[in-house]
């Protein structure tokens, strides 16, 4: 593990597969028409590391995150998860992968969305159990039992039979996290997981994420929660206009970065959040 953590995060246990990084991004670029949204991105995420992507809106951080599980198609460079090339055949032809191969990749990569994206016609328990049945092929009883344990883990065992419409935003997001961890992913992607929440509900979701990080989950988090990035992340990447403008430990990015864009962004952030 290369991370030199200067944070409050407890030390993580080193595991055997550390030689191959969990995520390796090399020279990745993407354009929407003539608009270049990602340019020459390099980023490595080691096992059990938490990497936060921060930066102004439109800087490409969500797009980059969505390229990692190929919800967004990247045009140039390569993204590897545990050594496996994402989205394309790993040969000179570089053909797009079939949906079946993409499914194999996505089974090990969980994603949590800004808008939760719970299925409104299913209870909390059914939301968590559904993928276990449809993707893992578990029978319904086993899936429900496992789903119940996952809801317990995010503190929502009592809400198992509630429909999403009857849950607060924070509870919905915790169900969405339970839905992902039930699949035992190797890597979790968070796309602004607290941005749609009322301020008083942010804490409960961040706490669940802290617990996951402490358990050694590898996480890539797009966030505007600078406190979370400063305290939980091993590495922070600051994106600006499709490039990584600063990268390092939270201390390096938040306190020692000299790039004017980073300083300007942080200053704006501090001004907005002080009163």
């Amino acid at each position: 593990m290369t991370a030199v953590s200067q944070t409050a995060t407890p030390p993580r246990p080193a595991s055997a597969g550390d030689a191959v990084p969990m995520v390796s991004i090399r020279g990745v670029g993407k354009s929407f028409g003539t608009n270049e949204v990602l340019r020459d991105i390099d980023l490595t995420v080691d096992r059990s590391e938490v990497v936060c992507l921060i930066g102004p809106s439109g800087s490409g951080k969500s797009t980059l995150l969505r390229c990692i599980n190929f919800l967004e198609v990247y045009d140039r460079g390569e993204i590897r998860i545990e050594g496996k090339l994402v989205g394309y055949t790993d040969d000179a032809q570089r053909r797009r992968l079939s949906n079946r191969d993409l499914r194999d990749l996505r089974r090990n990569v969980g994603m949590v969305f800004q808008q939760f994206n719970l299925w409104p016609h299913m209870t909390a328990l059914e939301n968590v159990a559904e993928a276990l049945v449809q993707v893992r092929g578990m029978d319904k009883a086993a899936a429900s039992a496992h789903a119940g344990r996952m809801l317990d883990r995010v503190g929502l065992a009592a809400k198992a039979d509630s429909y999403p419409a009857r849950l607060s935003g924070g509870q919905q997001q915790r169900v969405a996290i339970a839905r992902v961890i039930a699949m035992e992913p190797h890597l979790m992607l968070f796309d602004e997981p607290t941005s749609a929440l009322d301020p008083e509900l942010v804490g409960e979701v961040l706490q669940v994420m802290r617990d996951l990080a402490a358990d050694g989950m590898t996480m890539v988090v797009v966030t505007h929660e600078m406190g979370f990035a400063a305290n939980v992340a091993d590495k922070v990447a600051f994106l600006d206009r499709g490039r990584i403008a600063a990268f390092g430990t939270p201390r390096e990015v938040f306190h020692e970065a000299t790039e004017p864009r980073v300083q300007q962004f942080l200053q704006t952030y501090h001004e907005r959040n002080s009163f």
């Binding site: 599980n69 996505r106 969305f113 994206n117 016609h121 429909y163």
Partner: protein, 215 residues
Amino acid sequence: MKFSVIIDALPYLLGAAVTTIWVSLLGVLLGQVIGVAVCVARQSGGRAADIAGGVYVSFFRGVPLLIQLLLIYYMLPLIGIDVPPLVASIAALGLASGAYVSEIYRGALNAVPHGQSEAALALGFPGRSIWARILLPQAFRISVPALVNELILLLKASSLISVVGVAELTRTSQTISASNFRPLEIYLAAGLIYLAINGALALFGTLVERRLQQA
């Protein structure tokens, strides 16, 4: 007005109404199957499927049901398929209804947020499961009012199958009034029976909607 003729004819009219109901229900069921299949094929089956579906929809929405019915009834025997009037009627109702239903579902699918299928994709769902478990159940909920509307329209349109000799409510009313020379009473009774059936359907639709909203 002589209401006793209505009383006398009522057993026949009610029997015919039963035919109207089950022919319509079979038509609606066929329409649902065709409608969902066409809708899914157009959305996920590539360009050829989309064009084929588009041609189907514009034909069956654009040609009057009466003409469709007569075409099916008279044309199929020409190519060696002998269809009884009942089968031709149900097929015509189902094919016409399928065209409308596929459009109802298309509209409803547009109302399901993109994130719904994206969450399933990110979890590794096969496309088939995304349709069966995530998209169609939600599209169905959204379309219940439109589907009840379609059911009522179809039940009324089923009066057209009287022209190929199916003894449903309208045809039976014609037959009775031709023999007792009391068309006003008989058609009034038939109209009230249609009204009662559709009232029940509307009530059923409201109950289904309320039930689904509780979830």
